[in-house]
Symmetry: C2
Subunit: 216 residues, 2 copies
């Protein structure tokens, strides 16, 4: 089974691979990928081993099969539908973000508890009242929710989502959710990310020392 640290590097690998593909290359060495991303070549090779794709000594890896293998490992080669809950600043920004398509993620509905927002268009979707969420989830069999409600409401809304059938939550609210073991929660917490930035700044000032890339 592929480790989480490796999984975290996959999107970066994909970006490098696509970049080199676009430049016209068909093959790329682990050495080159490592150099692009500030990693070691051994680490890149070990990560690649997880995908099942084999390289050729002296040449490297064929780019297209590698892209396909990584995409497949992330399950990004099949489309997954998700709903977005909370049409605030961040929620709307995410709803409008077009890059999700390349992760196989499609936002199929947006919900908000504020009735004055409902009916408004965001891209080709309409904001719907949160009361409709139960029937929507059941009708469309959605299993993933993007949670962008305020922190104060996050726990309660998350519990509702789970009760209605949601099995995985991508949580952007600055709140640590306490949910059943069998519900997947992935945080995307600005505070955590900024805390690391702050700590690195402090270290730089205190000891003039910088550490290599920390993948989130």
């Amino acid at each position: 089974m592929i480790s989480i640290p490796t999984i975290k590097r996959f999107p970066s690998y994909l970006r490098v691979l696509r970049h080199y593909r676009q430049l016209g290359y068909d093959w790329i060495s682990a050495t080159k990928i490592a150099e692009e991303l500030g990693l070691t070549a051994v680490q890149v090779r070990k990560d690649m081993a997880g995908t099942g794709v084999e390289g050729k000594p002296k040449i490297g890896f064929e780019i297209d099969p590698l892209i396909a293998a990584i995409m497949h490992n992330l399950n990004w080669d099949t489309q997954t539908d998700a709903i977005l809950v909370g049409a605030g600043n961040l929620g709307l920004a995410l709803a409008r973000y077009e890059g999700f398509a390349s992760y196989g993620l499609r936002i199929t509905a947006i919900f908000d508890s504020d009735e004055s927002k409902c009916g408004k268009a965001v891209g080709d979707l309409l904001i719907m009242p949160i009361n409709n969420i139960s029937s929507y989830i059941q009708a469309h069999e959605v299993r993933i929710a993007v949670l962008t409600v305020p922190a104060a409401q996050a726990q309660q809304v998350a519990e509702q989502l789970v009760a209605y059938g949601i099995r995985a939550i991508w949580n952007f609210a600055p709140k640590d959710l306490k949910l059943s073991e069998n519900v997947i929660v992935q945080r995307s917490d600005l505070a955590t990310s900024f805390a690391v930035l702050s700590a690195k700044c402090r270290r730089m000032i205190d000891h003039g020392e910088n550490s290599p890339v920390d993948l989130l």
Copy 2:
């Protein structure tokens, strides 16, 4: 020196501590904090040890000093100014986000290369043309930039920022920046976060197994 994994847990500790403070508690045990966050009590105590605050056997930790110590360790008790570069969907959402104040972060200016956006108000700031960025950085001695430009421009814009004096970049562009060793880069990459969510979903489906909270 406090480890990065510990730093990543600090914002969650702060949220729990503030929550219990608001409920009227003056003291809290590591056991309780661990339970709230799905961590082990030993880990919480070890993390707390890093702050320098000592607990009392049978009672726990005094909340206020703990909050103060964590805030101080993150350097969140002194205000830091930053500029935001790229007034797209995400950039505007971040510019409007009011929670940064509690991290000691203040966005003092917004820049975009699109002239039609310049002059528009975002909160109490005006979007400024990116040509002004050099003089702004020099005049205001800003050292941190929040980068929310499209991936295709990220590397080039980042290099400019560094040339003008920026020393730390909070990078929201889906691009891995290659910059000088002495520049701090902290990524906040949606793709990485979603990759982990995808992997967890796959594991859940494949083996019915879920792992505990992964802090980004």
